[in-house]
């Protein structure tokens, strides 16, 4: 797919993408403590083994074992107790950071997230704004996601923040973060959810205070701009452009060019002339009539687009001759 967005911001680090919060940096720190601790112990084991292999190789003068050593209680107690202490330190450390990951601070900006095959939608309950596959947040502000799935399990993962959480049908799950740097960052789905699991991507867009205010205002504009322009805007904003072209080429879905008024043939053999009702139905119940030659992959936008927005798209499609 040529339209693959790629906004996973990497840094010079060979293990991790750029950390976007203090908490992410702390988690990286713990990882490095664990990793270097492991490397040291591993090297110790490795070097001792190599030493034994060289020193006690079977040779003409070393055909039988020099001495049958079968126990050493002090040593055995040491290598039971020391690892136990080490892992318990890790356990407590990991637990403390985990609590920080799990418990959001008081004054968070709340955003409702819905995962569905195969897109993410974000709703700003206070501002009555909905976005698709893009979530805009202000920098240095604690954000809280309340997440739910419309169908199967999904999982929302933001590598730059080192956070993820399962998104479950019929039950809310929460996730919070505070992004400390402006930019565009990758969101993945990391719970297997079917054919387009790997395409279920979104962007976290961290804006400065002022830019965020400006975005809020422009996003609210949809109330007054002309229907046609609204439709044009939604075409990209709601990610229809991932599957539908305007220039007559066919992608995952049929092109919108000349769609209005055209005879549509369906997989079940029926056909219909494309009118306003048909287009509306195609958006709300896409699986009802499947255009011949295409798969049943278009998600339903029921509840995700307002009536006015659907009207906007219809008006816009009418202009595409």
């Amino acid at each position: 797919m040529s339209t693959k967005n790629n906004s996973l911001v990497s840094s010079g680090d060979i293990w991790f993408p750029e950390p976007l919060s203090t908490l992410a940096k702390d988690i990286d720190y713990l990882y490095y403590v664990t990793m270097w601790g492991s490397v040291i112990i591993f090297l110790g084991m490795f070097l001792i083994s190599i030493y034994f292999l060289l020193k006690y190789r079977r040779t003409k003068s070393n055909l039988v074992a020099q001495k049958q050593v079968i126990e050493n209680h002090k040593l055995e107690i040491a290598w039971t107790v020391i690892p136990l202490i080490l892992v318990m330190i890790l356990f407590v450390w990991g637990f403390k950071d985990y609590l920080r990951l799990r418990i959001p601070p008081e004054d968070t900006l709340k955003i409702n997230v819905t995962g569905a095959k195969w897109f993410w939608s974000f709703e700003y309950p206070k501002n009555n704004i909905k976005t698709l596959n893009q979530v805009y947040v202000p920098v240095n502000q604690s954000i809280e996601f309340k997440m739910i799935s419309k169908d199967v399990l999904h999982n929302l993962f933001i590598p730059n923040l080192r956070i993820k959480r399962d998104v479950i049908p019929n039950s809310y799950s929460g996730l919070w973060f505070k992004a400390e740097k402006v930019g565009r960052y990758q969101i993945f789905c990391t719970e297997y959810c079917g054919d387009k699991h790997s395409e279920m991507l979104a962007d976290l867009i961290v804006l400065s205070e002022e830019d965020y205010e400006e975005w809020l205002n422009s996003a609210n504009e949809s109330e007054d701009i002309p229907l046609e322009d609204l439709g044009k805007k939604l075409y990209t904003a709601k990610a229809c452009n991932g599957c539908h072209s305007l220039d007559g080429s066919n992608m995952v879905g049929p092109t919108w060019k000349g769609l209005f008024g055209k005879i549509r043939n369906f997989t079940d053999g029926t056909s219909v002339k494309s009118d306003e009702n048909y287009i509306r139905e195609s958006i709300v119940y896409p699986q009802k009539k499947l255009v011949k030659g295409y798969q049943n992959v278009m998600p339903s936008y029921a509840g995700l687009l307002s009536d006015r927005e659907i009207d906007g798209i219809i008006e816009y499609i009418k202009t595409l001759k």
Partner: protein, 531 residues
Amino acid sequence: MGHLENINFFKAAKGFKSWLITVDHKRIGIMYLLFIVAAFTLGGLAAGIMRIELLSPDKVLLTAKQYNQFFTLHGAIMVFLFIIPSIPAALGNFFLPLQIGAKDVAFPKLNLASLYIYVFGALFCVYSMWHGAVDTGWTFYTPYSTTTDTSVISMTLGAFILGFSSILTGMNFIVTVHKMRAPGMTWFRMPLFVWSLYATSILQVLATPVLAITLLLLIVEKTMGIGIFDPAIGGDPVLFQHFFWFYSHPAVYIMILPAMGIMSELFTTFTKKNIFGYKAIAYSSIAIALVSFLVWGHHMFLSGQSDLASTIFSALTFIVAIPSAIKVFNWISTMYKGSIDLKTPFLYGLSFLFLFSVGGFTGIVLGTLSLDVHMHDTYYVVAHFHYVMMGGTVMGFLGGLHYWWPKMFGKMYNEFWAKIACALIFVGFNMVFFTQFILGSKGMPRRYYSYLDQFQPLHQFSTSGTWVMGLGFIIVFIYLINSLFRKEEVSNSPWGGITLEWQTTSPPPVYNFIETPIVDNDPYDFEKVKI
């Protein structure tokens, strides 16, 4: 049949039918070996094709749907058809009775029945996966698995049929160990491979019924519409994960314990040393078996289980790591002041030692709550469990196969090529999977058909490792087959091993020993037993 006593078990009866109706544990073990190698080949090919697909984020060979079917096929075959039965059913069947000086297992006919059930279950699984185009991943998580189609039931049924086979084998082994030991073979004179099989058998007998319960619940839900796992009718999809991992986490130890048993055999024979800390190793097998029932929740830190539960599971996970670490330290110490012979089986033993340790250390990372949040469901996890399952179990299996090959077939393979192949497999393995640790911590999610462009170089390097590893396996296959046509017979104990299986002929006679052995020494007492 008195006159059969001196004839090796291959020659004792001839013809295809004599194999189909045999009750000789050695023949059953060899038939298991054949099927298991076939399963490994099939699962390996599926993996190879997946890796080729991942050379590019765009389509190479497969569509997304086909890719998803391939990783499901790969996972399910490797777990249920290959790893779980690999060591116990093939090598265990052959060597458990030999190592305790018995004529056969306690219930020879049941043993044959387990084999038939395994073959039936395997065919059933592969057929239903292929036919039903199952694309759920080997974990069959609901509601994806129940909303797409019904094949989750047939797959769970398949897994259960296979599980039933391992319950029967497990019971058979438990009774054999209790009842069939040669005179003088006390519990603490048993070779450690036997201990590990005993611990594994307990796990199999206790954990597998949970699969049956899950299956029953799935069927009840489907047929009666009672909401259990499906949220659309009021069920709880997370409940399925609890059931699934309650079986599948102990299953992880069903997979690794027998390989640990083989390690103890390799580290004694090839150093001519008595094992360091016999009792610690034996008890740690049992400890692992018990604690492993209490850690399933570490697969579910992010699934919406309560934070308290996650915390407890995290703590227990760290505790279950300790007995494994103890074993590793014991094996290393066994080399001290030994007479170390770097033959191929021991090279696999060393591979296990290092690869399994890497698997263990990265397991610590994943058990740490805050780190797991980032690593969960990324390639880091994929790399981790391949280091444990392949770096551990498969290396142990290969070590055991090379160690006991001359005993099973009475022929020795070409040592030079065996070493080359071992090196290729070791290097190839690390190319494939070490790379995936980096991919994962950089944020590459698992089960992705397509990926961001920035991951491509690492994916390509990982894929190239599969070719190195594949070449290694092809070489193994060739020299092992070739060895069967060699003229020279091998002696009773080509490596100088002293456990009972090395005190009979290679291959052993039908009833294993001409005279019932009488044991009056520890299993690895190289000072007392001279061969």
